[in-house]
């Protein structure tokens, strides 16, 4: 018989013998009725006793919760049935009637009925609403031990010590008691008669079947929740299974195993299992279909009396001699393993599935594990190996087994594994790409095996190891009940040990730097050296944990998802209504598996922990972002910030002036403090502000607070200190005004104002002092006046030694004018970020010309459209704004270079991959990468007439150097050179090709934009360089499709046009402005030609505006008008258009004539010769560059193209090849 190694006990209570148990249908509660007359209400999740009910006299055997109401019912040996309210915590009423012990009591699932079975041999039905007995069923001729309602039908089943099980039909009773509204008189009569008949026998409840088969009394009987099955347990130690149909019932089979009286039994609510308990101290689980034992669990000393099942979740309770235990039959934690964006997990029906987080999609079954382990025991763990796409599954069956299975490439449905290797061991986990570790608790050995399942090494696990888990590459974490040990497999050595009790699960962070050790109530975070980083305690069970990419641990308890940062700060993320096993966090989504192993996505608000994390990492920008975009909950975050010593950040959240003031004082932000003090305006606040400001040395604020507080003395002293004589004088006046003599005296002293002091003494009749003062300051006249006033003479006065007069030192520095360099208010970088944010919307990336907000007219007037100004290249085009960076490439013409085949050059035989490249490809770039420069040059010469290779040197070397990597191997031997490919999937040596850096895409997205920027910001020299570089890069390049070939050619043309345009403009600028009419004429021409190349519209506008302005200043009104018209035709920014309009009107007013006749016909169609910058009218002869298509006057044939600087103008060429089909 298979026995489970241990029962998954969730809760145990200690008490006297438990006779009855009932689960609350929703809450985590059980009622336990005891032999000692007490009824207990437990919270089995928290393990706390919620309440006790003690009104019965003697043992209480029957107990049941009402399915919906806050009621429960109990029946005891005092013959009483009591109905209780657990809300008011008292007995509501008692149903009396039974004449002996009441054995069981049950509520009906919908009707207001209670069913009781009693030793008085009757089974009774009570209506608890009107508290009356409505039916008594007699028939058993010994104690009725148990009676239960059918969960759906109008049936009752009862068990008795008379050895029989009876099934009763109570449909009559239901009819009688259903609503009597639409009843005819006859019906009522009939009913009355029926009721009459009750008195004699049973029309309400009739025996349907009597099931005989037990040889002793039957203790318990239960219906199957859905099937027409009955299970009974008897003193004959048997569990019997019965089946019934409409008309008959019969015994199906017997489960033998109990070796003492079987006390109770029931059907598993969802699975095909039977549970039974007995006085032989065992709980047994049977297969309903095979009637074989699946599991059994034995208690040392306690006989079992009762068993109950939770109606919904996988939870059972059994009552025994010393209390109750709540247990599970199987682990509900689904075995799963996460790899990057895929979760592999095993479903309840034992299929391996994967879940893709990027698509949020569940895969079909990859594999069926039906045959693995025992059908009733789900696999415990799953370990995934991405390199081999293999999984390791462990199961606790047969004291631990594992299987190594390679996952099929495609999810072809529920196939049984074809290739699998198995072995025995408690834990098995991949430790490296081609190794896994198997641990067995019985031998305490860890074996390292390779993928063929053969052992490569073996060693003893640290003593007491119960489980091993992945510990970083090449390492294992060995979990013992009191320790976690980090073990290096290679060295067979303990690297570290940490004392943490009861660790059951380990969750590694995504970067492998940290791990969370989960025990029942603790989370300990360690780094990969197993040094403890932080730990936290939960009062409630911790179920699972997973890491956010940013290094925040999210963990789930029975009812919450919480987070903890590495520093131990934690908090609640959200509540859970059922247990979830977290597997991954991505942005606002938490992915988890529920108890049914279904992937779920829960939405969370990560703001709080992100904020705290940003705070810890001092990532102020992110904090700012969070503050701006989300509404953080006020008080908690403020106190958190304050506690953590970030008052300046807390300040950003607070509105309440008082709190703001406190925070501002705390972080020394006097400005805010002052502002707040003004709002609050209370003396106490001002005093605090004053003393704080004094500490800072900010005397201006101190002054203000003293003024507010009317603290004259201090104010005077402050002015003295700061040397503010003027204000001190004013203080003296104020003192005089207030009639405060002491103050006057003080101020006079501070000011060194002897006269006013004497004056004051005189006023208060202190003549001796006045005299003395005058005397000591040598004011003889004043002395005499005083003597006169008092009518005394000098001789009559005896004088002390007067000494010298008080000399007031004069202020050296005018401190009062400004604050001292005050103590730097702690402006954190956060605040700076905040201020910066508010302060300047400076977008550095925007070129300055867009910023220049000069009114166009004013600019015109000031500059008078001066040509000189244009030459200051750095100044930008100053034409107002809105010349956006528009989408590239819509008006480029294609250069049609035909793709005639060039015969592949055969190079000499070579064996390195680089040699293969040049053999595999007819493209010049590939030859360059292979280092075969000669053939590359030959190719280019044939394709585009390249003759001047010097400018291509950087490009050649760039391509060449990007093609080889260096790998050190053994010491002393040159490094291994490997060749970087662009087709990394290719393994056929005839098809491998080198990587060519700066492909078309990067040229378009980076270099081209750079060129545009140069154009926009008027950095034309740079622009020419950039565009020429684009030309060179494209000349030695490859693309991957025909459409890309077209794109590349378009880009070549575009680069050429820009190079040409910029060259023309640069040429114009190089002409001296004072060179007389010829020079001016040429300048005007060039500025007109500048508008000819095919630039993007926004850039063409720049050229047109420049040309228009130059023409206008030089009274070329006709040209100016034409340019203005073109600007207007192109439209665009308002300023541009305004200016063009203005020019247009002025030009028209001025007669639309040109002062100088230039070679520019605005109506003709022409190209510009790239060498001479002269027009080539359509129809006239010209030559062009075979690569970029630049046009030239015929005399330039044979020279090097001015644009690309590589190819020969007018050379015969087959056209550039960038792509070959099939490569």
């Amino acid at each position: 018989m298979a026995s489970s190694p241990s029962m998954l006990t969730k809760f145990e209570s200690k008490s006297s013998r438990a006779k009855g148990i009932a689960f609350h249908p929703k809450r985590p509660w059980i009622l336990v009725s005891l032999h000692s007359s007490t009824i207990q209400l437990w919270d089995y999740r928290m393990g706390t006793l919620i309440d006790r009910f003690e009104e019965h006299d003697g043992p209480v055997r029957g107990i049941d919760f009402h399915p919906t109401q806050p009621l429960f019912v109990s029946g005891g040996d005092d013959y009483k049935i009591k109905v209780w309210s657990y809300q008011t915590r008292r007995c509501l009423f008692t149903l009396n009637g039974h004449l002996d012990y009441v054995r069981t009591v049950f509520f009906h699932h919908e009707l207001p009925w209670i069913l009781s079975a009693s030793d008085d041999q009757t089974i009774r039905i009570w209506n608890w609403q009107n508290r009356s007995l409505i039916c008594t069923m007699t028939g058993h001729n010994h104690y009725a031990m148990c009676a239960q309602f059918h969960p759906k039908e109008d049936l009752i089943v009862s068990a008795s010590l008379d050895q029989s099980v009876r099934v009763w039909d109570i449909s009559g009773l239901r009819k009688k008691h259903s609503a009597p509204t639409s009843m005819t008189f006859e019906d009522q009569m009939a009913r009355a008669n029926q009721q009459q008949a009750d008195m004699f026998g049973n029309t309400d409840a009739v025996v349907k079947f009597v099931l005989e088969g037990h040889d002793r009394g039957v203790n318990w009987v239960s219906f199957h929740p859905t099937l027409p099955l009955i299970v009974s347990a008897g003193d004959d130690r048997l569990i019997k299974l019965w089946r019934m149909s409409e008309t008959k019932a019969w015994e199906v089979d017997t489960c033998r195993g109990h070796f003492q009286n079987a006390s109770a039994c029931l059907f598993h609510p969802h699975q095909d299992l039977i549970l039974s308990v007995g006085e032989d101290k065992t709980v047994r689980v049977w297969d309903l279909n095979k009637r074989t034992s699946v599991q059994s669990f034995k208690r040392e000393n306690d006989r079992f009396w009762v068993v109950a099942a939770h109606p919904e979740i996988n939870l059972f309770a059994a009552g025994h001699d010393n209390g109750v235990m709540v247990f599970k039959l199987e682990r509900e934690r689904p075995a799963s393993s996460l790899y990057q964006n895929t979760l592999f997990y095993i479903t309840k029906d034992k299929h391996v599935r994967s879940y893709d987080f990027t698509k949020n999609a569940e895969s079909p079954s990859l594999l069926s594990l039906r045959k693995f382990g025992n059908s009733w025991v789900p696999p415990r763990t799953l370990s995934y190996n991405p390199a081999e796409r293999a999984i390791l599954v462990t199961s606790p069956v047969d004291s631990g087994t594992y299987e190594l299975i390679t996952l099929p490439k495609d999810a072809g449905g529920a196939a049984d594994p074809t290739d699998m290797k198995k072995g025995s061991g408690t834990s098995a986990v991949f430790v490296a790409r081609n190794r896994f570790a198997v641990f067995s608790t019985s031998t305490q050995n860890i074996e390292i095996k390779d993928l063929s399942n053969s052992m490569t090494k073996s060693f003893k696990a640290p003593t007491g190891t119960t489980d091993v888990v992945f510990g970083g590459t090449g390492c294992l974490l060995c979990l013992t009940p009191s320790n976690v040990v980090l073990y290096d497999i290679q060295q067979k050595k303990q690297l570290a040990e940490l004392s943490v009790t009861g660790v059951k699960y380990v969750s590694w962070s995504n970067d492998g730097m940290y791990a969370a050790l989960l025990s029942k109530h603790n989370v300990t975070i360690v780094n990969k050296q197993l040094e403890q980083v932080s730990t936290l305690h939960e009062t409630i069970r911790i179920k699972s944990a997973t890491w956010d990419d940013s290094g925040v641990l999210l963990y789930s308890t029975l009812n919450h998802i919480k987070y903890t940062l590495l520093n131990g700060d934690n908090g609640i993320v959200r509540t859970l209504d059922q247990t979830m096993y977290l597997v991954k966090v991505k942005a606002r989504s938490v992915y988890c598996l529920d108890r049914a192993a279904k992937p779920r996505v829960l939405t969370i608000d990560p703001t709080e922990y992100r904020f705290k994390l940003a705070l810890v990492k001092r990532n102020y920008d992110e904090m700012l972002q969070i503050i701006k975009t989300s509404s953080l909950v006020g008080q908690s975050i403020i106190s958190y910030l304050q506690k953590k010593g970030y008052p300046e950040i807390a300040l950003q959240f607070v509105q309440d002036p008082q709190t703001r003031f406190e925070l501002a004082i705390e972080c020394g932000n006097l400005e805010v403090a002052t502002e707040m003090a003004k709002q609050i305006d209370k003396p106490k606040i001002w005093t605090r502000l004053g003393s704080e400001a004094l500490v800072h040395g900010n005397h201006q604020i101190v002054e203000m607070t003293y003024q507010k507080l009317r603290n004259f003395d201090k104010l005077s002293f402050l002015y003295l200190c700061t040397g503010d004589e003027e204000k001190l004088t004013r203080m003296a006046k104020i003192a005089e005004h207030r009639g405060d003599f002491v103050s006057r005296f003080q101020n006079a002293l501070y000011l060194g104002d002897v006269e006013s002091r004497i004056q004051m003494f005189k006023e208060i009749d202190l003549y001796p002092l006045a005299y003395l003062t005058a005397k000591s300051h040598g004011m003889t006249e004043e002395c005499e006046t005083i003597l006169e006033m008092t009518g005394l003479t000098e001789d009559q006065i005896s004088m002390p030694d007067v000494g010298t007069g008080l000399n007031i030192p004069s202020a050296i520095a005018p401190t009062h004018k400004a604050n001292w360099p005050t103590k730097e208010a702690a402006h954190s970088s956060f605040e700076k970020a905040l201020l910066g944010e508010v302060g300047g919307p400076v977008d550095e990336t925007e070129p300055n010309l867009l910023e220049e907000d000069m009114p166009v007219v004013a600019a015109q007037d000031k500059n008078g459209l001066a040509a000189e100004d244009e030459e200051e290249a750095a100044e930008g085009w100053d034409m107002g704004d809105d010349i956006g960076l528009e989408a590239a490439g819509n008006d480029s013409d294609f250069v049609n270079v035909d793709n005639a085949d060039v015969p592949a050059d055969s190079t000499g035989p070579g064996s390195s991959e680089a040699d293969l490249w040049s053999r595999n490809s007819p493209l010049a770039a590939d030859h360059v990468a292979s280092g075969s420069f000669e053939t590359a040059m030959q190719l280019l010469n044939r394709q585009v007439g390249a003759v001047n290779f010097a400018p291509l040197k950087p490009r050649f070397l760039e391509v060449y150097q990007a093609s080889r990597t260096f790998l050190t191997a053994s010491a002393g031997v040159p490094a291994i050179i490997n060749y970087v490919r662009r087709n990394i999937d290719e393994t056929d040596s005839r098809k491998v090709l080198p990587l060519i850096p700066r492909d078309l895409e990067s040229l378009t997205t980076i270099d081209l934009q750079e060129g545009y920027t140069a154009m926009r910001t008027n950095k034309l020299e740079n622009g020419v360089t950039t565009f020429k570089e684009i030309l060179h890069s494209l000349l030695v390049n490859v693309v991957s499709s025909q459409s890309q070939v077209d794109d590349a050619k378009a880009l070549i043309t575009k680069a050429m046009e820009y190079t040409l345009a910029m060259s023309i403009e640069l040429e114009r600028r190089s002409l001296s402005t004072s060179g007389g009419e010829d020079s001016l004429k040429r300048q005007l021409e060039l500025s007109a030609y500048f508008t000819v190349p095919k630039l993007d519209v926004s850039h063409r506008q720049l050229a047109l505006m420049a040309a228009m302005r130059l023409a206008f200043t030089n009274k070329q009104f006709s040209s100016a008008l034409s340019f203005a018209n073109r600007v207007l035709a192109n439209g665009g920014a308002a300023k541009l258009v305004d200016q063009a309009k203005k020019t247009k009107t002025q030009a028209e007013r001025s007669g639309s004539t040109d002062a100088i006749d230039i070679e520019y016909d605005q109506f003709a169609d022409f190209d510009i010769c790239a060498a001479s910058f002269t027009p080539i009218y359509s129809g006239s002869q010209s030559v062009s560059c075979p690569f970029d298509g630049a046009k030239y006057q015929t005399q330039y044939k044979g020279q090097v193209c001015r644009m690309c600087e590589v190819c020969e103008i007018g050379a015969a060429a087959s056209g550039l090849r960038l792509w070959v089909q099939g490569l």
Partner: protein
């Protein structure tokens, strides 16, 4: 006893030596080793010294010893080809250390055939296998290198050296899968406890570079470059990466090249570059425009 089996006391020395953590090799405490392993460890220490450029010290330490092992180490220290050849042809060519040392000298000096001949005499020496693999690869005989690795895998799958040798070969053979598998080897090496050598990082970066994962490669290389005395190949590969990502003409490349010149002015990359530049210049002179402008 096979010194490379996982049981060995020497596993740390060997791992350190082959991840080029020579200082670790030198600081390894040999006192607790068994008498058979002690001289083996000492030989590794000599070789580590040579790799660190302390050739003279090794020569003077061993100048008095006349046994074949010492002579081969001296030959390695002096890069003495003729002595290596002597040893290869002598009866001492059965000795594992002699094979490795002489084989290295020969391999490094272009005596590919001789080196292979010597090394092929090995009897279950993983070092010899690794060296052979490398020599085959350097001489573009990928087929032979693969054969060597496959054969060794049959009897020594668990060894770091064979894993590395396989990774070398895989990087040459290429294809997404092989690159990835090489990457795993180096990743594993890099995440091994106590590993501070840049070799693993560089290997990882090279594999990633071949896989086209330039950002990751850059991260790994930057990490390797952060050290006080960055690995030469880390610098070289960083230069390559600069070119691959199209930033080859930037300041960073110049800086790196300066650094490389400073550390190893004869590095293949630099030598190759000089050669190619002159090749370019010569080749370019064959062409000129028909008309001067």
């Amino acid at each position: 006893m096979d010194p490379f089996s996982g049981e060995s006391e020497l596993v740390n020395v060997i791992t350190a030596f082959y991840t080029h953590a020579y200082q670790t090799v030198l600081s390894f405490d040999t006192s607790s080793l068994s008498s058979t392993n002690k001289p083996v460890a000492q030989n590794f220490k000599y070789r580590a010294q040579i790799a660190l450029g302390q050739n003279r010290e090794v020569v003077s330490a061993l100048s008095k010893s006349r046994d074949a092992t010492s002579r081969s180490l001296v030959a390695l220290a002096k890069n003495d080809v003729s002595e290596a050849l002597n040893l290869a042809e002598s009866s001492d060519s059965e000795d594992a250390t002699v094979q490795i040392c002489a084989g290295t000298v020969l391999g490094a000096n272009g005596e590919y055939a001789k080196a292979v001949e010597l090394l092929s005499k090995h009897q279950g020496s993983l070092e010899a296998v690794a060296l052979l693999t490398q020599l085959h690869l350097v001489n573009n005989r990928t087929d032979l290198a693969l054969k060597e690795v496959q054969a060794a895998k049959r009897w020594a799958q668990d060894s770091l050296l064979i894993n590395m040798a396989e990774a070398w070969a895989n990087l040459r053979v290429g294809g997404q899968e092989k690159y990835q598998s090489a990457y795993y080897v180096y990743e594993e090496l890099a995440s091994a406890p106590g590993n501070q050598s840049p070799t693993a990082l560089v290997g990882q970066a090279v594999a990633e570079l071949h896989l086209g994962r330039t950002e990751e490669a850059e991260a790994a290389l930057n990490q390797a470059l952060e050290s006080e005395k960055p690995d030469i190949q880390a610098i070289a590969n960083s230069i390559v990466l600069q070119y691959v990502t199209g930033k080859g003409n930037g300041e960073k490349t110049k800086e790196l090249k300066g650094l490389l010149t400073q550390r190893d002015s004869e590095h293949q990359l630099l030598a190759d570059l000089v050669e190619k530049e002159s090749l370019f210049d010569t080749a370019a002179t064959k062409y000129s425009a028909k008309a001067a402008s």
